[in-house]
């Protein structure tokens, strides 16, 4: 696990000095993170990097994981889809399952933090244990257009928190509590993002039988309908009429996402027998994901809905030209025509891919801009700073805080 000093060559020493200044202001406070899965998905990934770094800075940080049955996670997956605005049949029984598991966790989860930082809807009901400490609800989901039955159910919990955190402005709601905008981040030293020698990249491509004979278009994502793997295949087929290329669809599944394998099968079916489409199930294969992104000519993220879309940051950090949907937190990462191309449809995605494939200099320039944008705004060092500011804001209601 990287130490905070190791980020100095990437972001400069003064940035790390600032983090130390802030950490010093949090001395004596215990931060307790709670989420629903120790591995898989963006939340666990961020916490697994962030918690040790906060500790390294001297902020007493702990991470607890709630427990839930398969049935509970089926319900929370339905909630997830409903919050993303997808029509979902949610009945009283689902809410009962949610509350039953929440009650079990209220009995089992020990709350000891001065600041309790709850991630996503699964552990949201733990707020019932609020005492004199401060509670934050971190929503990693796009709730710009939520299914109201589910949102109203969750809102009754949210309003009891001291603050809520969202990843994009459009996700904010009219709430009686403070709401902050904090983007997630990538770790430039993790296996998923660190520099790789060409031999490693070649080795990974050989392992998955992917020849480097033509341009490679890649989407790295969990197999989830909201990531639109079918739409990516359609866009690839439109591109393929004019530019011979390969498509890689690669990703894992999370323990709290029971739908993943079904979507993977659907993607395989749609790809039929096209030998230039490579569909890879890569659970927890960070180094391989890194290699595939680095081997790509163009990276795509054609999500229908997106919490933030960290795969976009990952690709931009590798200076790749990225085509991505104008959804969720993606427009924060891509400024259209400056640091990537945004799209709204299969046809738009295909057109943007062709622009990149046919204009390598343009693609390179946007990729380079994108990398600088990520360096300034979406690396874990900025995220650490924002979280420490968030913790401090709980004790300072004013707009200008003198520390």
């Amino acid at each position: 696990m990287a130490k905070i000093e190791e980020y100095i060559p990437i972001v400069d020493e003064s940035v790390i000095d600032d983090l130390r200044l802030l950490a010093d202001k949090l001395k004596g406070r215990v931060i307790q993170h709670i989420n629903s899965t120790p591995v898989g998905g963006g939340v666990a990934e961020i916490l697994s990097r962030m918690v040790p770094l906060l500790r390294g800075l001297g902020v007493d940080t702990k991470w607890d994981v709630m427990k839930g049955s398969e049935r509970f996670f089926e319900v929370t997956k339905k909630f997830h889809n409903a919050l993303h605005g997808r029509a979902a049949e949610i009945n009283k029984c689902d809410f009962d399952v949610f509350m039953e598991t929440s009650r079990d966790n209220l009995n089992e989860v020990d709350i000891y933090g001065d600041i309790v930082f709850v991630h996503d809807p699964q552990p949201i009901a733990l707020i019932k244990k609020k005492a004199q400490n401060k509670w934050i609800w971190r929503c990693h989901i796009d709730i710009s257009n939520p299914h109201l039955k589910v949102w109203h159910f969750l809102r009754d919990f949210v309003v009891n928190y001291d603050a809520a955190v969202f990843s994009a402005p459009a996700f904010s709601q009219m709430l009686p509590i403070r709401q902050f905008l904090i983007s997630p981040s990538i770790d430039p030293l993790s296996d998923k993002n660190r520099e790789l020698p060409q031999e490693t990249i070649d080795m990974v491509l050989r392992k998955y039988n992917i020849p480097q004979d033509k341009p490679i278009i890649t989407q790295i994502s969990r197999f989830d309908r909201l990531k639109d793997p079918a739409g990516v295949i359609e866009a690839y087929r439109l591109v393929k009429r004019y530019v011979d290329c390969r498509l890689i669809l690669a990703g894992g599944t999370a323990t709290d996402d029971p739908e993943g394998l079904k979507v993977l099968e659907e993607a395989r079916e749609k790809a039929q027998q096209d030998k230039d489409i490579h569909i890879l199930l890569l659970p927890q294969a960070d180094l391989e994901v890194n290699a595939l992104q680095r081997a790509s000519t163009v990276v795509v993220q054609k999500s229908i809905r997106e919490g933030f879309g960290l795969t976009v940051s990952e690709a931009l950090w590798k200076a790749k030209p990225v085509v991505a949907s104008n959804a969720g937190g993606i427009p924060l990462q891509i400024k259209h025509r400056y640091s990537g191309l945004l799209c709204h449809s299969v046809e738009g995605a295909a057109f943007a891919m062709k622009q990149f494939l046919n204009n390598p200099q343009y693609a390179r320039k946007l990729g380079e801009n994108g990398k600088e944008h990520i360096r300034n705004n979406f690396l874990i060092t900025r995220h650490l700073r924002d979280y420490m500011l968030l913790f401090l804001s709980l004790y300072h209601p004013e707009d200008i805080v003198y520390l």
């Binding site: 600032d18 300034n376 500011l389």
Partner: protein, 224 residues
């Protein structure tokens, strides 16, 4: 050893500031709504939307100078108004209040001259979201007594510190001029250098360019 360079009685103490974005839940889909909310939101919102780009897009040039201009041009397609908003000379305003009035006046004046612009609206998900900036100001543990020390610290301190002393202190804390010019004139008595730094339009530089310009000016004066 005495370098012969003037020493200040009071050192320049460097501060730094960090910003957290607080969401207000307020959003506008039309120019009339935008102008209406601009009158209601806190000064911290106006500050956020006119200064956010400086820190977040410091590598890009040219950049839309404020969020209002970007939204009006890119989402509503009102390029002329977008240009008017982006060319508001922020450095001429010494308070957020006066800057806010200028922005509102620009939008309302445009709507009077172009009534059809009222019919433009943003699609779902493309509304303007009002965000306010929460600033955290803290000492950076650096102090300078003369221009040599000052230049040395300016060359290695974070751009957040430079940002604070040049932009935030002047406008948000309403000090009239930037902190660097204030100290150089009042504590070192070097009005010429103070004025030269004052004359820079910081809004048309990236922060790193600004750092370089300030260092060049100090070197020119410190070595005289």
């Amino acid at each position: 050893m005495d370098s012969g360079i003037p020493k200040a009685k009071e050192p320049f103490k460097f501060y730094t500031s960090f910003h957290l974005s607080e969401l207000t839940g307020l959003r506008a889909a039309t120019l009339s709504q935008l102008a209406g909310l601009l009158k209601e939101v806190s000064g911290s919102c106006i500050y956020h939307h006119t200064h956010r780009f400086l820190q977040q897009h410091q590598y890009l040039s040219p950049e839309p100078p404020n969020d209002f201009a970007y939204w009006v041009s890119e989402v509503l397609g009102e390029d002329e108004l977008g240009e008017k908003l982006s060319s508001i000379d922020t450095i001429r305003f010494s308070t957020i209040r006066s800057l806010r009035e200028k922005i509102i006046e620009t939008i309302e004046g445009y709507l009077r001259d172009n009534p059809f612009a009222k019919l433009r609206f943003a699609g779902q998900g493309e509304e303007f979201h009002f965000i306010k900036s929460v600033s955290f100001v803290l000492p950076a543990d650096y102090a300078a007594y003369d221009l040599i020390e000052f230049q040395e610290i300016v060359s290695r301190i974070t751009i957040d510190s430079i940002y604070f002393h040049i932009f935030e202190s002047r406008l948000r804390l309403e000090k009239g001029a930037n902190d660097f010019s204030n100290w150089i004139e009042n504590s070192l008595g070097n009005k010429k250098l103070a004025d030269e730094i004052l004359r820079l339009d910081p809004y048309t530089h990236t922060l790193e360019e600004l750092r370089k310009k300030i260092i060049t000016l100090i070197q020119k004066h410190a070595l005289v």
